[in-house]
């Protein structure tokens, strides 16, 4: 047996088929809305990634030397590669830019995560300066989730600006510790830091409430009341009201304690959860700050989802059984011609080149096919009822 490097995996069988189906749905939907595919390089120069990623993420990069001796890393984040490319290859006049991708990303394997590579699908929208851009991205994301059968998935929405403004009057290192505690999920450490650090009362009161600001749109009113005037929630409110008007009100929840792993977000952020799985399937948000680090001004929104995860939960996970078409000793060209007409029916088709009928039938049963067709006369056998010794009522005439 061939051994793979630790942390790597081959994906085949029904899961691979489901991943391809999800990818197809995703790409065709986003391309229909003007998003152009992008295939970033697998190797990125360390110098272009290092400064733009938070330290926690940098520690996960897999550093390598290219065969030309340049210090590189395996692509750990596609957004970064995409923005860097767009910044250097497109003039401001070409904006807005809409990009979608499906590719692998790499991160150092660390318990409990054993995998070093994962498959990501995602999209980026750069250069629209209005609220509709945020809503467009989330609307398409929800549409895509619907189409792959995750109609009960939830978008958990937060806003990076809300927390950033709440810690803006605190000394930098203390603010970092407070945000870090929230990011780690340690509400115990977070509460202790709020007690210890020198924080103006007004901001302390807001920070104390943040871990409790979860729920429906009413949370936004509650959060706004904490600030009085000038609550940094306008973008998030716009997103929520647009998605609600589009009929997705029951698919969104608010979490103002949400902190995403990548530190470059600067507005509405979100995580995607499915109904029956505890971990996030991915997420994204507004990253105007990253854009400015790349020398661009303006608004940007993007997301990335773990393709393997969403495929394993999608309606494509259980593949519909195929039809086996026996060539019935016809010439290969004639058999393929007849089979091609069957294949256009939409169900997966497998050719059987067995010399005799019995072997072909046995093979079809072993492979879990739903039915079997004799291409010479078009007779069809329903393999689910074959045990009863019955054939389908009436012979289906092949369209030939």
């Amino acid at each position: 047996m061939n051994r793979l490097p630790r942390g790597c995996a081959n994906v085949g069988g029904d899961l691979a088929a489901a991943m391809e189906e999800c990818k197809r749905v995703f790409l065709s939907l986003f391309e229909q809305w003007g998003y152009r595919p992008f295939l970033p390089s697998g190797l990125q120069l360390l110098e272009s990634s290092w400064e733009r990623l938070p330290s926690l993420f940098r520690q996960k990069l897999i550093a390598v030397n290219s065969p030309y001796g340049e210090p590189c890393c395996l692509r750990g984040d596609i957004t970064l590669a995409t923005v860097a490319y767009l910044a250097s290859h497109h003039s401001p006049e070409e904006r807005p830019l809409r990009i979608c991708y499906s590719d692998r990303v790499y991160a150092r394997a660390e318990k409990p995560r054993l995998a070093m590579e994962s498959f990501q699908i995602g999209a980026e929208l750069l250069g629209w300066e209005r609220q509709g851009a945020d809503a467009e991205m989330l609307f398409l994301l929800l549409r895509m989730l619907d189409e792959i059968g995750l109609e009960k998935s939830i978008l958990l929405l937060g806003d990076a600006t809300f927390l950033a403004k709440a810690v803006s009057e605190i000394e930098f290192s203390a603010a970092e510790r407070i945000v870090g505690a929230l990011q780690k999920g340690s509400l115990i450490e977070y509460a202790a830091l709020l007690d210890e650090e020198n924080i103006p009362d007004f901001y302390r009161a807001i920070l104390q409430r943040i871990p409790e600001l979860h729920g429906g749109p009413e949370v936004l009113e509650e959060a706004a009341a904490l600030w009085g005037r000038g609550a940094p929630l306008l973008s998030l409110k716009n997103v929520v009201s647009t998605l609600t008007a589009l009929g997705y009100g029951d698919r969104i929840a608010i979490d103002l304690s949400l902190v995403r792993e990548l530190g470059y977000y600067s507005g509405p952020i979100f995580d995607v959860y499915s109904e029956n799985y505890g971990q996030s399937l991915g997420g994204g948000g507004r990253y105007d700050r990253l854009l400015s680090l790349c020398g661009l001004q303006g608004q940007a929104m993007g997301f990335g989802l773990d393709l393997q995860h969403i495929a394993s939960l999608s309606k494509f996970r259980t593949r519909s059984p195929s039809v086996m078409a026996w060539f019935a000793n016809l010439s290969p060209d004639e058999a393929l011609r007849r089979a091609e007409r069957l294949a256009t029916g939409g169900r997966p088709l497998e050719m059987s080149w067995c010399a005799d009928r019995a072997s072909s039938l046995e093979n079809a049963t072993q492979r879990g096919c739903s039915s079997w067709v004799d291409l010479s006369d078009g007779s069809t056998l329903d393999l689910a009822t074959k045990a009863d010794g019955r054939t389908l009522p009436g012979k289906e005439e092949l369209p030939c």
Partner: protein, 214 residues
């Protein structure tokens, strides 16, 4: 229905008592027998091996759980620690024979290449690497105190409650690593989507913990 995972073993009875004292329907936990899933009122309790408890929460099989700080540190799963119950207090320490104490009083470099037996390889790695000391970590699953005695390791990293087991095996505490207690944890998803239920449970337990402390 809210699902709460509880660790079997040392802290099970403390967690069960806490739930009952907080007024949750949990009387069946007083004598669970061999049951691994117990339903009472609007709650489902899952009884699991302590090291598996964080996984149940992380993968969404449970909304809430009680877990020791040591288990949470070792699992490194992205969970939300809601409450420190103050129960099940103990410490994670490095312990070894008295002859090793001098090396732990000196510069961290004197700890280089020590052989450390532990059931917490991740905590051990984080602890020693934070001091810049490279050590050999020997991952054992129990009876850690035996390792130095049998020459398998120089020292151990383990939890200590009273210190009685260390003393019985002629070991002493060389270094404090962290304090451990029983924590109430939840997944990020449950915190966000079931906050009202979780807050009610958390408040009931918190008030009970405060009563006991005062």
């Amino acid at each position: 229905m809210l699902t709460i995972a509880l660790p079997t073993g040392r802290v099970f009875s403390e967690a069960a008592e806490l739930l009952m004292a907080a007024g949750l329907p949990a009387s069946s936990l007083a004598s669970p027998g061999r049951k691994l899933v117990i339903e009472e009122g609007d709650f489902r309790y899952i009884l699991a091996k302590p090291s598996d408890v964080p996984l149940y929460v992380s993968y969404g099989a449970a909304d809430l759980a009680f877990a020791g700080g040591d288990v949470l540190q070792e699992s490194a799963l992205p969970l939300v620690e809601i409450l420190d119950t103050g129960r099940g207090r103990c410490r994670v320490v490095v312990a070894g024979p008295a002859s090793l104490a001098e090396r732990f009083r000196g510069h961290p470099s004197e700890r280089m290449w020590l052989k450390v037996a532990t059931k917490y390889p991740r905590i051990a790695d984080n602890h020693f690497s934070s001091k810049g000391a490279q050590v050999d970590i020997i991952h054992l699953h129990g009876s850690i105190e035996l390792a130095p005695k049998l020459g398998l390791s120089d020292c151990i990293l383990d939890i200590v409650q009273t210190g009685g087991t260390l003393k019985a095996n002629h070991l002493e505490v060389l270094e404090h690593v962290s304090d451990v207690s029983l924590r109430l944890v939840a997944s990020k998803k449950s915190v966000a989507l079931r906050w009202d239920d979780i807050r009610a449970v958390s408040r009931a337990i918190r008030s009970r913990c405060k009563e006991v402390r005062s």
